[in-house]
């Protein structure tokens, strides 16, 4: 199973409600997967600021004095905003590479959830309502976001096995289904120097798309490529800094419903995830076609 929700706003006046709307959609999907839940939110980027979302199993120790330490180690000011087990570290864009490298080398107890100018990822083991409440998701604003509630099949129920997966700056992917060629593809990508953290099949799909985009393909083209290279069942919803994409495999066993109005594009594993959205009664509602890339950009 697994439940997916996604919301891509066209009307900025809905931005303050993005977190609230996404949380409500995700909680509706709880019975599709109660193992873990996560949300990726794209907020407005602030000037040249760069963000890293990290997670700690022991936030009291893990985040204590972290901002001062990172500022000293990278030579640029780093700010930190704690949210339960997660913390968003902000720094100047020029300091991005140094910060991420330092976090990987010197803070291996911290897990990097996401990096980028505008995206933050919050995910934990537990029910969607608890995960959303823990991180105050319904208070968050933004332009687009993706949520996932997981029924685990291909790897353990852990924070790192929860969705969304992010393998590139401001890129994220959620998945309903299971991939059968993820081991061979993971080896191939690693040989090409792609960093893959877990043994999870979905992370391989995310890393594959990141790799294709690094080779110059846009999100839509990378999704087209995945139809040839990924074997298995999948409904994907992906986000980039400006884009929102949906793809189902050619067999299309995994359910998907979309809705579009002048104000938004929405995705739900089931229609009931969409029923609270404004104007849903008059929205264009349809089931995305198999093996057809749907892709919006702002």
């Amino acid at each position: 199973m697994c439940g997916i929700v996604g919301l891509f706003l066209k009307d900025d006046s809905l931005s303050p409600q993005l977190g609230g709307m996404l949380s409500e959609m995700l909680v509706t999907m709880t019975d599709r997967g109660p193992d873990s839940a996560g949300i990726a939110l794209y907020g407005a980027s602030e000037g040249s600021s760069f963000k890293v979302t990290v997670q700690s199993d022991d936030p009291a120790t893990g985040f204590n004095g972290l901002a001062a330490h990172l500022s000293a180690a990278t030579g640029s000011p780093c700010r930190i905003e704690e949210k339960s087990t997660h913390a968003v570290i902000s720094t100047d864009g020029d300091n991005a590479e140094k910060l991420v490298a330092h976090l990987r080398d010197a803070h291996s107890a911290l897990r990097i959830m996401s990096t980028g100018d505008s995206m933050e990822i919050y995910k934990e083991v537990g029910l969607p309502k608890d995960v959303a409440a823990r991180f105050n998701i319904n208070q968050m604003s933004g332009t687009h976001g993706i949520g996932h509630t997981r029924m685990a099949t291909e790897s353990a129920v852990t924070t790192m096995g929860a969705h969304p997966f992010s393998t590139g700056a401001d890129q994220c992917l959620v998945h309903n289904g299971s991939l059968s060629n993820h081991n061979s593809l993971r080896r191939r990508l690693r040989r090409n120097g792609v960093h893959i953290e877990t043994e999870n099949d979905t992370e391989v799909a995310a890393a594959y798309l990141t790799h294709r985009m690094n080779q110059g393909r846009n999100l839509g083209e990378a999704l087209e490529d995945s139809l040839d290279d990924l074997d298995g069942f999948f409904t994907f919803v992906v986000g980039t800094k400006n884009g929102f994409g949906v793809l189902r495999d050619p067999i299309a066993c995994k359910p998907a419903v979309m809705a579009e109005t002048d104000q938004y594009v929405a995705f739900g594993s089931e229609y009931r995830a969409l029923v609270s959205l404004p104007g849903i009664d008059t929205a264009r509602v349809w089931e995305p076609e198999p093996a057809n890339v749907y892709f919006w950009e702002r």
């Binding site: 299309a252 359910p255 419903v257 089931e270 229609y271 029923v275 509602v285 089931e287 076609e289 198999p290």
Partner: protein, 232 residues
Amino acid sequence: MPTIDLAQDGLRALNKTLQKAARDVAATQSNETDWTIENPKGSHAIAVGLDGPIEVTVAGSTGYYCAGMNKEASINVHGSAGPGVAENMMSGTVVIEGDASQYAGATGRGGLLVVKGNAASRCGISMKGIDIVVHGNIGHMSAFMAQSGTLVVCGDAGDALGDSLYEARLFVRGSVKSLGADCIKKEMRPEHIELLTDLLERAGSDAKPEEFTRYGSARQLYTFNIDNASSY
């Protein structure tokens, strides 16, 4: 005309009430035949297991398995239906005013399912006597292993129509993306025009029977034959 608000009463109470009403009407112990369900909001398993001639109007869209195992009842969904609508229907009528998701009418043994919009993949999979009329298009792998009954498509059909087909009759007005293994085009005879005329009329479609093409089983894959291994 009683109305049930699903948001207030919950699913179990709803189905219990409708099932009792259907039984009572069938036993002529009640004449409460018209029921309306409000606030379906994509909920699963709405109006399932009805066994009696009542008429149910669902005011909105439904989720998985609406109208499953229906017997004698008429169920009309004023919206779209999620996966598995009218699954294993025995008799009666189910009408979807909008679209139907995958495997609409799967394994149905009798009755009439009408989809006024499009139906997604696997429509009529393993059908065993049900009649299905889709006003729009249908998706891939429809009528897979269909055994008997009739599938009428006023629009186009997706890939692998009628794969491993037994004796179900398939009629498509538009194009067929591809035929499945052992499914072939067949001649339209007067009895097929007669059958279509009746079904289209009952389904509220003004399509002309003469515009349809009939597809059926080539009957080459009924029993396992090693020479056919590549076709299975």
